[in-house]
Amino acid sequence: MPIPYPPLQPDTAAGPARLVLQGISKAYPTVVANHDIGLVVRAGEIRAILGENGAGKSTLMKIIYGVTRPSSGRMFWEGEEVAVASPAHARSLGIGMVFQHFSLFETLTVVENVALALPGKPALDALARRIVEVSERYGLPVDPRRHIHALSVGERQRVEIIRCLLQDPRLLIMDEPTSVLTPQAVRKLFETLRRLADEGCSILYISHKLDEIRTLCHTATVLRGGKVTGECIPAQETPASMARLMIGKELPRCEHDARQAGSEVRLRLAGLSHAADDPFGTDLRDLHLDVHAGEIVGIAGVSGNGQQELLRVISGEAPLAEKFPVQICGVEAGRLSPGRRRRLGMAFVPEERLGRGAVPTMSLADNALLTAAHNQGMVAAGFLRFGRARAFARRCIDEFDVRCGGTAAAAKALSGGNLQKFIVGREILQAPRLLVCAQPTWGVDVGAAAFIRQRIIDLRNRGCAVLVISEELDELFEICDRIAVIAKGRLSPVRAARDTSIEDIGVWMSGLWPGAEHTAGAPLATETPHA
């Protein structure tokens, strides 16, 4: 989403060097996460650290913040050499960090969480007032008395940012901050960050999203395989040129041609309502949706708006009391078990790869057995036919380019992207009539993500119905024929992808679609509680 704001030219951003890294390396027993990294961050500069998953971005930030220590290399802070011993030390220097996986305590209140990170013993009442002050100044509204578990992901991030700001940081590290935000919330975050930079705070912005970096950052350092592969001024680059630096080759694109969906309904949600099992879950309320043969339908939404519950209901993990609300390939399947639903022709790629999609300690062949046993004839007279399981796993590995140590390799030994390719392959090679997948490319590098998307599109071209639930709008717009939004457990109308835009869907993600129920005078909710 282009945001009109002229990024500073390097000469106007050239304040004094605040942080300098020289030759930083970090070796873990099996991998070298960082190798000879050099970096300069100036006062008031927003510098992007760009790289794929596993490129060493997070390790580098942990070194700067004192969570881990480098194996070698030197670090200078405002002209003086320092060895950051701990996060507390980093904070005392003026370095603040907002983590990708939030480091908040769910059972504590906002003000308690902030108090834990501050030195000394601030009185909670006075601190609550300071939180309100800071939150108003930077446009980060949050109620200091609330418990974290009752906050949305966006609100949690605000708490993290406020927690950093209260320490008057001179360097703020943001680790993939937008992965959980709506486009509108991203824009607000960027306004806050720019204001901070204008006040002289330096910002290290870690991301793999090229558009964001181009709109926000003054400068960028690109990492690949733990090494610096280039520096650039994002505003003067194209996404393609930055992607080349990041992945070392051209950004792959999916081929997605418009085509007419079949008339057969493979998945129908007919007034699906379901109360969440989890006390902080989201109740599903009166969902209607048809997915036809030969089309890909996407469901967008900020996480925690009912996606988990919807997936559990569709997959059969949470069977319903009634049959009719979930219809799979024409059969009323609301009360069927996951196995029975698979036999109707449904395949399922869950969000969590380890633990749901695959058993971490079992081999790939055994994992292939788990969902493909009946479909691929791996069971005869109650006995397993391991030869067939191995052969099928071999096919998944070959056809989906899974880099691994063979069919006997344990699932947990594979990298995230490779395991995801294996799981998607296992489901697609069963030639399903309906594929349901959640976050198919979450945490997967750009190359593997494009590969997986292309395979999903190919499957649809062969006449399969596909339902994709994802938080990545770019992904949904790339592969989907039709898109709906889930917000607060309700489903928006479904729109053809080419008749809508990321901006429109972003507004819908707040629950504001035409015909949505609103209480007059209620404040405009931008996020919903998230468990």
Binding site: R69, H89, F99, E106, L108, P279
Partner: protein, 310 residues
């Protein structure tokens, strides 16, 4: 029921509940830091025998209580070494500690089996001990009874008003986050484990020096396990631990009274004896059904080992 009977039953209830309160509140701190120590029974047994031996040799019950506390802490330190430094499984280590402590206490206590101690006189609090009905029962009690109340109030303040308590809760919820913002997770957990051991030792000392001034093998009689269960059923809230402990004590005293009174009732005595256990569980489960309360109070990382990233 006449007045003196009520007073004496209330007195007995408070005495029976006191060791449970002390031990359970110690375990509560222990568990709030995210460490599950199932060895309470063993720590109590060691506390009881150490307290008895030292009291017997020195003639001073307070030296005995200090020795009981020390023995409990020594056991807890052993447990801490296993699960915090060596990252052993907490459940297995705790069970081993319980068995080891009970056995070692029986071994150490052999020479003391036939001796008795002088009963320690109660401490009478002037004026309020003269209150009708409850005065004699509540304010003419052993010092450790007053200690258990002070412990309760102190713990309430510590957990919800002090910064140290906040840090403790944070460590129990998410040690990784606590480490990331710079708290010494392992040291805090050690302190919590040692506190739990100290309280278990004092609870044991109360049994062998004050409650029944004698030592017998197996005299802890499952109270360590009850205390552990109390903490869970009370959803880690000190007030409910108090309620549960006194409820247990009260039902225990009542059923003993009924069994001893010669009342002609058609009810198997075994069922009566089991009454305190299931009555406590039923009541605590009934008052703690709210999922929200459980989510807010249970330490999320309970029982999970944590090794800080180097």
């Amino acid at each position: 029921m006449d007045a003196s009977l009520f007073t004496s039953m209330l007195f007995a209830t408070v005495v029976a509940g006191t060791p449970l309160i002390i031990v359970a509140l110690g375990l509560l701190v222990n568990e709030k830091a995210g460490v599950l120590n199932l060895g309470a029974e063993g720590m109590m047994a060691m506390g009881a025998v150490a307290a008895f031996a030292v009291t017997h040799e020195s003639g001073n019950p307070w030296l005995g209580v200090a020795a009981g506390m020390g023995a409990g802490m020594a056991m807890a330190a052993l447990f801490g070494l296993l699960v915090l430094t060596l990252m052993a499984n907490q459940v297995a280590s705790g069970l081993a500690l319980a068995i080891f402590g009970v056995g070692l206490a029986a071994f150490v206590g052999k020479p003391y089996e036939a001796v008795a101690l002088q009963a320690v006189p109660p401490i009478r609090i002037p004026f309020i001990a003269d209150l009708p009905l409850i005065g004699e029962a509540l304010y003419n009690q052993q010092a450790l009874v007053y200690f258990s109340w002070a412990l309760f109030w102190g713990l309430l303040w510590f957990l919800h008003r002090s910064r140290a308590g906040l840090v403790l809760r944070a460590v129990g919820e998410s040690p990784a986050s606590a480490h990331a913002i710079g708290y010494p997770v392992i040291r805090i957990r050690y302190l919590a484990v040692l506190f739990g051991g100290a309280m278990a030792g004092i609870g044991g000392a109360f049994l062998s020096v004050f409650y029944t001034p004698m030592w017998a093998e197996g005299m802890v009689a499952g109270r360590g396990w009850i205390a552990l269960a109390l903490v869970v059923f009370a959803t880690w809230r000190p007030l409910r631990v108090m309620v549960g402990a006194y409820l247990f004590g009260g039902v225990m005293v009542t059923q003993l009274f009924i069994q001893g009174s010669g009342l002609q009732i058609d009810f198997p005595s075994q069922l009566l004896s089991s009454l305190p256990y299931w009555a406590t569980i039923v009541v605590l489960v009934a008052i703690s059904r709210n999922g929200n309360t459980i989510r807010l109070n249970s330490p999320v990382s309970l029982g999970k080992p944590y090794r800080p990233e180097a």
